[in-house]
């Protein structure tokens, strides 16, 4: 053992790049993400606090700002549970039954991802606007949709429609039907089977889908901008309020509101990463969003 030649240190393995190439690529990645992602993140908080904490907090405390926060929370509270219910129902229908046109149905569910949010808003306006057949009737009976809360909720649901279903379908396909079949043969009712067998198996995937759906629902801008009418204190959501403040050169107000939404995004990412680390095996499509 006297003749030890440290070859390992000097030669790199056949499947590695040279250290120079490696560090160049890491450098490009870090600088790229620094400029594109980290810098915008920092500037939101820097701008929000540019006149101090008090100015930022005061701007969030005025009536219109509070109304916007309340509206956004309400929109999320309506659209996220409905989309979650849809996601569960659609995933159940698609994975527990065999029928013709399944692939087509899945394509339809994915459709909102390839439609511009502005076009989505346009569609809602055309369907439920005051000049349309359905919208006219609803307005006449005192239920305006467009330029009111239901329209905003519909537009939000349109753009977030696929999130939960897309997360659940691959997970439920992978898990198969055997466990549910076993529960049924043991005499469990349909509901009981769902609550005690299916739901525990898909809960992390469901949570994951709901997280993404919620983040998008609270932050949606394009579709909501088209249907909201932008009435301050009534139909202006948080992102719409950001736009209005920004266009009126109320920088602190715009960025303070933006900072609140940024914090929400960061919390979402944190929870999402935690889920990916702890329950990766139960998130089939965790990496594919």
């Amino acid at each position: 053992m006297s003749d030890i030649t440290p070859y390992e240190g000097r030669f790199r393995s056949a499947t590695e790049e040279s250290p120079a190439a490696r560090w160049t690529m890491i450098g490009v990645a870090v600088i790229g993400l620094g400029i594109l992602v980290f810098a915008p993140l920092l500037v939101v908080f820097a701008e929000a606090l540019s006149k101090g904490w008090w100015a930022a907090i005061k701007s969030l405390g005025n009536r219109d700002a509070l109304a916007a926060i309340k509206l956004t929370l309400m929109i999320a509270a309506i659209s996220v549970p409905l989309n979650a219910a849809f996601g569960i129902a659609a995933a159940w229908f698609i994975t527990k039954f065999d029928f013709r046109g399944k692939a087509f149905l899945i394509t339809l569910i994915d459709l909102p991802f390839s439609v511009s949010p502005v076009v989505a808003g346009l569609c809602i306006v055309l369907m439920f606007g005051a000049n349309s057949w359905a919208g006219g009737w609803l307005v006449a009976n005192g239920y305006p949709i467009v330029f009111a809360l239901p329209g905003i909720a519909l537009a939000t649901m349109f753009v977030t429609f696929p999130f939960v279903a897309r997360e659940l379908i691959p997970v439920m396909v992978e898990q198969g039907r055997a466990e549910e079949e076993a529960a049924l043969t043991l005499g469990a009712s349909g509901w009981r089977t769902f609550w005690t067998v299916t739901l525990p198996n898909i809960r992390w995937a469901l949570l994951y889908g709901v997280l993404l759906c919620n983040a998008r629902a609270m932050g949606e801008f394009g579709a909501v901008a088209v249907v909201s009418g932008k009435i301050r204190g009534q139909t202006a959501t948080m992102p719409i309020t950001i736009e209005m403040s920004y266009n009126e050169y109320l920088s602190v107000a715009a960025f303070s509101m933006a900072a609140v939404l940024t914090l929400l995004a960061l919390v979402t990412l944190l929870l999402k990463t935690a889920l990916e680390i702890r329950h990766a095996d139960q998130l089939a499509s965790a990496r594919r969003h």
Binding site: M1, T5, Y7, R10, F11, A14
Partner: protein, 243 residues
Amino acid sequence: MHIEIDEISKQFGTTAALAPVSLSIPSGALVALLGPSGSGKTTLLRILGGLEFPTSGRVRFDGVDATGLTVQERRAGFVFQSYALFRHMTVFENIAYGLKARPRASRPPKAEIARRVQKLLELIQLPEIGPRYPTQLSGGQRQRVALARALAIEPRMLLLDEPFGALDAKVRKELRQGLRDIHDETGLTTVFVTHDQDEAMELADLVVVMSGSQTGGRIEQIGKPADIRARPASDFVREFISA
């Protein structure tokens, strides 16, 4: 080519994979590295191929120190356990790969490459499969394509890691003879790794029996199949070959 392994050892972090081992492989021999998993046989093969570098010791090819040669410089035809065929290339492109990867100065012209690939396809007795993709082949065909691909670079030696491991019993028997024929035809020094003692005894001129231990894999016995059968050097060898 004559291969000399001189006191080679290998550590992965704190685990010893290979205790210092020495072995001399005469030119043109067909050698089996036989042993259970954890005996360091694959590590030794990979060190010969330049895919791992030894922690200590030297490798000499025809008396010249080759320890520091990179994989590319070694020109060892290596057949992987999974065959590692390139899925996005046809069989033809797979076999031609090594020739096309050469620097422009030493790269044969297109027609010459095509001629050599065709010759290799005939050598493995699959002359028609050039345009096919690896996913369209059977396991046995894939193994032979991997062999042809390794031979295309005009290697100085042939190294095979569990070449029959992924095949069913019937195909295995056929391909053993195939490897023997190719070895005899090319005269290349050939080393293959196996855990199957029948395979080693039936195919190899020289069998190297290896065992694992706390201090890393080591060589129990080197000898002709008949000698090892007749005179096992240790209890380990006796048990392993009778299993």
